[in-house]
C-alpha cells in the first residue's frame, strides 16, 4: 500500500515536470514567433508601418428607395463625387497642392486653408468639396499625379426625380448635428454623415439607412490604392412603399400653383394619405448633398416659410367648417333634433354684445340641414350658447382636435381647443360668454391643422371612427420582399349616433348640391359633400374700413374647404386651405372639386359611360 501510494506521488511529480516542459515549449514558440516578425520580417512590416499603408476605407451604403403606391420611385440614389484630402499623404508642401486645387474646384484659397487646418484624426480624409460636377472630377483625375493626397470619392447621394413634388412629405437630408449625434437613435452615425432631417426621410431614417461596408486596402506611399486585402459589401437600406398616389399628388400641386396653403386627402375608411400638398415648397435635391449657405439663407429669410409643412405644422381658425362639430355636439347632447327650427334675423344678441350673420337681414326660420347648407351663423350662435364651452370643447377633443393625429411625420402641431381653464392658466383672464359664441362658428382662440380637419370629416364620412393618418404602407428589403406591412390604426371611436352622422352628411351634401355655400364643388355624376370655411386674418372692423375690392392680399381671409365623396361609403376625404384665398366657397371649393374628379378618373369610375342616376338625398 505504502509503496503504491508513494508511486502515485512520484507519478504526480512527473506530471509537474511534464507540465513545466509544456510551458517552456509555449514560451519558446512565442519567442520564435517574435523573432520571425521582428527580425526576419522586419523590413516588410517596417515598410507597412510607414505612412499607414494598410487602411480601412468606408463604403457608404445607399439609402432605401421610396416609392408611391404604384411603385413609381419618388426618392432614389445617384452617385455623388466628393473631393477629399489626406494630409499625411502629401509628398511635397501643402501649399503646392492646395493652390491648384482651389483653382480646379473654384474655391476660395482661404476657405480651403481653414478647412484643412481643422483638427482631425490622422489619415482620415477631409472632404474639401461635396458634389463635384463632371468637369471638376475630370480635372482632379487628370492631375492626379501632381496632387498627392487628393482623391475623388464616390458615394450614393439622394435624388428626388420629381423635384418639389411632395417635398414636405418626403422631407430632406442634412448633415447630422452635434446634438443629434448624442441621441441613442443616431448611435451608428458619425460627424459629417447625412441623415433625414424632415418628413418621411426623418421618421423612417433608421429603416432607410443601410449598413456601411468597407474595405481593407494596401496603398502606396502617395496614398493610392495598390490592392484590396479584404472587403465587406455595404447593405442598402430598406425601401418604402407609400400610400401616396403620385398622379393625384401632381394634379394637387398643379391646382396650388401660385397659391400658398395646404391640401391633404385621406382614405376615410382607413386613414391612408392619398396626397399632401404644402405651398410654397422647396426642392429637396438642393439639400441632398449639403445645401449652400446662400440657398439656406434664402430659404430662411423667405417670409412664406417654404420648409413648413402646413398640413401638420400650421394652424388656423377653422371658421365655418367648425359648424360641423357644433351641429354634431348639439344633436348628440339633445339640444336640437333634425326638426328643431330656429330663427335667424341677421343678428344674435348676448348681453351687451351683438353677433352678425354673414347674410344681412338673416335667413329666417331654419333647421339644422338648411343651417349647414347656407352656413347660417346665427343658428350656430344659438347652438353654441345652449351647449356652453364645456360641451363644445368635449366634442372637439373627442373628434380629434387640439391634439396631434400621430401621423408618421415629424414635428406635428396640436392646434388649440380653448377652455375656460386653459384661458385662466395661459392668458390669466376669465372666460367671457361671448367667446363661446365665436367658438361655435370656429373663430376665437380655436385653431386646427388641415390634417385634423381632414381626419374630422373622415370620421363623419366613415361612421364615426378616427384613424391615425399614415403614409408608409409597407417596407420592402432590397430584393423586393415585404418586410413589414402597416395596418390602419384606430385613434378613437367618438361614434356619434348614426342618426346624427346621417343628418350631418345630408347637410354637407346639401352644401355642395343644394345651392349652398359650396356649390362650386359640385360635379355632375359624383355625390360630393363638403363645407366651406373662412378663417379671419384680421377682425371684421379692420376689413370693413378698407372698401370691398381693395383689400391687400395679406389681409384677405384664409379659405377652407373640407369635403368627402361619395357621400355614402366615402373613398376620399380632404381638407383644402388657401391662405389669403378669401372665401372658402370660391377659392378652395374648386380645388377640392378638381381633385375629387381626378381621383375618380384615375380609379376609372368617372366620368360615367351612361348618365348617372341622381345621387341620393334624404
Amino acid at each position: 500500500m505504502r509503496i503504491s501510494s508513494k508511486g502515485t506521488y512520484l507519478h504526480k511529480k512527473r506530471r509537474i515536470l511534464a507540465f513545466t516542459f509544456l510551458v517552456i515549449i509555449a514560451f519558446a514558440t512565442l519567442i520564435l514567433r517574435l523573432w520571425y516578425l521582428q527580425i526576419i520580417q522586419y523590413a516588410t512590416y517596417s515598410d507597412l508601418s510607414k505612412n499607414n499603408r494598410i487602411r480601412l476605407v468606408r463604403i457608404k451604403s445607399p439609402r432605401g428607395i421610396i416609392y408611391d403606391k404604384n411603385m413609381i420611385p419618388l426618392v432614389t440614389n445617384r452617385p455623388v463625387f466628393d473631393a477629399s484630402l489626406i494630409k499625411e499623404d502629401i509628398s511635397g508642401k501643402l501649399k503646392d497642392v492646395l493652390k491648384p486645387v482651389s483653382g480646379f474646384l473654384k474655391m476660395d484659397p482661404a476657405q480651403l486653408k481653414a478647412l484643412v487646418a481643422q483638427k482631425h484624426q490622422p489619415f482620415q480624409p477631409i472632404v474639401l468639396k461635396h458634389n463635384l460636377d463632371f468637369k471638376e472630377v475630370a480635372q482632379l483625375e487628370e492631375h492626379q499625379l501632381e496632387l498627392s493626397g487628393i482623391m475623388v470619392q464616390v458615394s450614393p447621394g439622394r435624388s428626388y426625380p420629381f423635384g418639389q413634388l411632395a417635398a414636405h412629405l418626403l422631407g430632406y437630408m442634412g448633415e447630422i448635428s452635434e446634438r443629434q449625434l448624442k441621441r441613442p437613435q443616431y448611435r451608428k452615425f458619425k460627424l459629417g454623415d447625412f441623415i433625414g432631417q424632415a418628413g418621411i426621410e426623418k421618421t423612417f431614417n433608421s429603416v432607410l439607412t443601410g449598413t456601411d461596408g468597407g474595405k481593407q486596402v494596401e496603398v502606396n506611399a502617395q496614398g493610392r490604392e495598390l490592392k484590396v486585402l479584404g472587403e465587406l459589401e455595404p447593405k442598402p437600406g430598406l425601401n418604402l412603399i407609400l400610400t401616396l398616389d403620385s398622379r393625384l399628388q401632381m394634379l394637387a400641386e398643379k391646382l396650388f400653383e401660385e397659391k400658398t396653403g395646404a391640401l391633404v386627402a385621406l382614405n376615410p375608411q382607413n386613414g391612408k394619405v392619398l396626397c399632401m400638398v404644402s405651398k410654397p415648397a422647396f426642392d429637396p435635391n438642393k439639400f441632398a448633398t449639403g445645401i449652400s449657405q446662400l440657398e439656406w439663407n434664402k430659404i430662411l429669410s423667405d417670409s412664406n416659410d417654404p420648409l413648413q409643412n402646413r398640413v401638420i405644422q400650421s394652424y388656423y381658425p377653422p371658421g365655418s367648417v367648425f359648424k360641423i362639430l357644433t351641429a354634431t355636439a348639439a344633436l348628440e347632447e339633445n339640444i336640437i333634433d333634425s326638426a328643431t327650427s330656429l330663427t335667424c334675423n341677421g343678428v344674435f344678441r348676448l348681453g351687451r354684445g351683438s353677433y352678425d350673420c354673414w347674410k344681412r337681414g338673416g335667413h329666417g326660420k331654419l333647421q339644422v340641414h338648411q343651417a349647414l347648407v347656407h352656413s347660417c351663423n346665427v343658428f350656430f350662435y344659438q347652438l353654441g350658447n345652449r351647449l356652453g364651452i364645456e360641451n363644445i370643447a368635449y366634442w372637439a377633443f373627442k373628434m380629434g382636435l387640439g391634439k396631434a393625429t400621430g401621423i408618421d411625420l415629424p414635428d406635428e402641431k396640436t392646434g388649440l381647443v380653448p377652455t375656460p381653464e386653459w384661458k385662466l392658466k395661459n392668458i390669466g383672464e376669465k372666460w367671457q360668454p361671448g367667446e363661446t359664441i365665436s367658438i361655435s362658428i370656429g373663430q376665437g382662440y380655436l385653431s386646427v391643422t388641415p390634417i385634423q380637419l381632414a381626419n374630422l370629416v373622415s370620421a363623419i364620412a366613415n361612421g364615426g371612427i378616427l384613424y391615425k393618418p399614415w403614409i408608409v404602407d409597407r417596407i420592402l428589403n432590397a430584393d423586393g420582399q415585404t418586410k413589414r406591412i402597416y395596418h390602419p390604426e384606430v385613434l378613437a371611436k367618438p361614434s356619434p349616433a348614426d342618426s346624427t352622422l346621417q343628418i350631418i352628411r345630408r347637410g354637407l351634401y346639401g352644401v355642395v348640391n343644394e345651392q349652398g355655400t359650396g356649390a362650386r364643388a359640385r360635379v355632375a355624376g359624383l355625390s360630393i359633400a363638403g363645407k366651406t370655411g373662412t378663417a379671419q386674418v384680421v377682425s371684421k372692423q379692420a376689413t370693413a374700413e378698407t372698401d370691398g375690392e381693395e383689400i391687400p392680399l395679406e389681409l384677405k381671409d384664409h379659405a377652407w374647404f373640407v369635403a368627402f365623396a361619395p357621400v355614402d361609403n366615402a373613398e376620399i376625404a380632404l381638407a383644402v386651405m388657401v391662405e389669403h384665398g378669401g372665401h372658402g366657397g370660391s377659392a378652395s371649393a374648386p380645388i377640392a372639386r378638381e381633385l375629387i374628379k381626378e381621383y375618380f378618373k384615375l380609379k376609372g369610375t368617372w366620368p360615367p359611360l351612361k348618365k348617372a342616376p341622381p345621387a341620393s338625398t334624404s
Binding site: S5, T20, F27, L30, S46, S49, I54, K215
Partner: protein
C-alpha cells in the same frame, strides 16, 4: 502564534519580479494612452496597490484555511455571476461588470481564481489512490456552472480559459488518462451537434474568432495592424512614446488586450524577450513551489495558478502576433484593468502563501 519561519521562507524574489513586471505594465500603459485624456496609468497604479492589498490578505491566512471556505467563496462568486446576468448594477460596457460604488469589477475574472481554489480543495479531500470516475465528474460539474453563466454574458474568451485550467488540474491531480478521456472524447464528438444548434450570428462570431480575416474591417484589420506594430519594432524598438502604430491609434484596445503590441513596437525584440523572460521566471517559480509543496492541495492550487497564467500569456501574445485567434483576454501583469491585475496578484499571493508554509 505568528511563526518567524514564515518570514524566513518568504519568497522576496518572486514578489520583486512580480512588482517589476507590474511596473513595466504601468510604463507601457502610460505610452499607450499618452494621446488620451484619461490618465489610465495612474488608475493602473491604484489597481496594482489594491492588488498588493489583496495579496497581503491572501498571504496572512494559511492557504489550507482558505480552502475551508472555498465552497462558500465559490457560491458567492456564482451568485455574482447570476446578478450580472440578471442585469444587476452593471456598468455601461457589455454586461460583464458589476458596479460597486465608484468602480466596477468583473466577477468572471475572479471566477478563475475561485475555481482553482475550489478544485484544489476538492482534490485535497480525495485520497491519492482513489482516483475514480467521481474525481472527474464532480469537478466537471463545478466547471459547467460558471462556464455556462460566463458564456451567457457573453464572454466567450473568459469562459474558454476555464477549460484548460480544468484539464490542467485534472492532469496535475493525477487523474488517470482514461478517466479524463471520458469527458474529453464525448465533448469532441458532441461538437458538430453543438455547431448545428447555434444561431447564424453565433457561428459567424466563432468563425471570426478562429479566422480574423473573415471580418476584414474588424478583427482582420486589428490583427494586421498589430502585426505591423510588432514587426516594425525590430530588435531595439522605436523607443518609448515613439511607436507610430500606437500613437496614431491604429491598434485596437492598445492599453488592454493589445498592450503587448505597444511593448513590442516601442521596446523591440529585446524588450519583448525580457518581458517574456520575467513572466517565465514567475511561472517556473510557480511550478517549483508546486513541486515542493507540502500537500496535495498546495500542489494543485499552485499548478492551477501556473496553468492560468501560462494560458493567458500564450493566448494573448499569440493573438497580437497572429498565432492565435482574437479573444478578449488580457495579458497578466501588463494589461490595464483592475479585475485582471487584482486576480493575478491574488494568484501570486497564493503561490507565496504555499511556499512560505511548505514546512509548517
Amino acid at each position: 502564534m505568528f511563526d518567524r519561519r514564515l518570514i524566513l521562507h518568504f519568497d522576496w524574489l518572486l514578489l520583486l519580479i512580480t512588482m517589476l513586471v507590474c511596473f513595466e505594465g504601468v510604463i507601457v500603459i502610460y505610452s499607450a494612452t499618452y494621446n488620451m485624456g484619461d490618465q489610465f496609468y495612474i488608475k493602473q497604479i491604484y489597481w496594482v496597490l489594491m492588488g498588493l492589498g489583496a495579496m497581503l490578505v491572501v498571504i496572512s491566512i494559511d492557504y489550507r484555511a482558505w480552502g475551508r471556505s472555498a465552497y462558500a467563496l465559490y457560491a458567492i462568486n456564482i451568485i455574482l455571476l447570476i446578478v450580472v446576468l440578471m442585469g444587476g448594477p452593471t456598468s455601461q460596457k457589455v454586461g460583464r461588470w458589476l458596479k460597486f460604488g465608484g468602480f466596477s469589477v468583473q466577477p468572471s475574472e475572479f471566477m478563475k481564481i475561485t475555481f482553482i481554489l475550489t478544485l484544489a480543495t476538492y482534490f485535497k479531500r480525495s485520497k491519492d489512490r482513489s482516483s475514480s470516475i467521481r474525481d472527474v465528474f464532480i469537478p466537471l460539474f463545478l466547471l459547467l456552472i460558471p462556464l455556462a453563466l460566463i458564456v451567457k454574458q457573453p464572454d466567450l474568451g473568459t469562459a474558454i480559459t476555464l477549460i484548460p485550467i480544468f484539464l490542467s488540474i485534472l492532469f496535475i491531480a493525477g487523474i488517470e488518462f482514461r478517466y479524463i478521456s471520458y469527458i474529453v472524447l464525448p465533448s469532441i464528438l458532441f461538437a458538430p451537434f453543438a455547431w448545428g444548434l447555434l444561431k447564424e450570428y453565433q457561428r459567424d462570431r466563432i468563425l471570426v474568432f478562429l479566422n480574423p480575416n473573415a471580418d476584414p474591417l474588424g478583427a482582420g484589420y486589428h490583427l494586421i495592424q498589430s502585426k505591423i506594430a510588432v514587426g516594425s519594432g525590430s530588435l531595439w524598438g522605436k523607443g518609448f512614446l515613439m511607436g507610430t502604430q500606437n500613437r496614431l491609434n491604429f491598434l485596437p484596445a492598445q492599453y488592454t488586450d493589445f498592450i503587448f503590441s505597444v511593448l513590442s513596437e516601442e521596446w523591440g525584440f529585446i524588450g519583448a524577450l525580457l518581458t517574456l523572460g520575467l513572466i517565465l521566471f514567475i511561472i517556473l517559480r510557480g511550478t517549483d513551489i508546486a513541486f515542493h509543496s507540502k500537500d496535495r492541495m498546495g500542489m494543485v492550487l499552485a499548478m492551477g495558478i501556473v496553468a492560468s497564467l501560462t494560458f493567458h500569456v500564450f493566448i494573448n501574445v499569440g493573438m497580437v502576433t497572429g498565432l492565435m485567434p482574437i479573444t478578449g483576454l488580457p495579458l497578466p501583469f501588463l494589461s490595464y484593468g483592475g479585475s485582471s491585475i487584482i486576480t493575478t496578484l491574488i494568484g501570486i499571493g497564493f503561490l507565496l502563501n504555499i511556499r512560505m508554509r511548505r514546512f509548517s
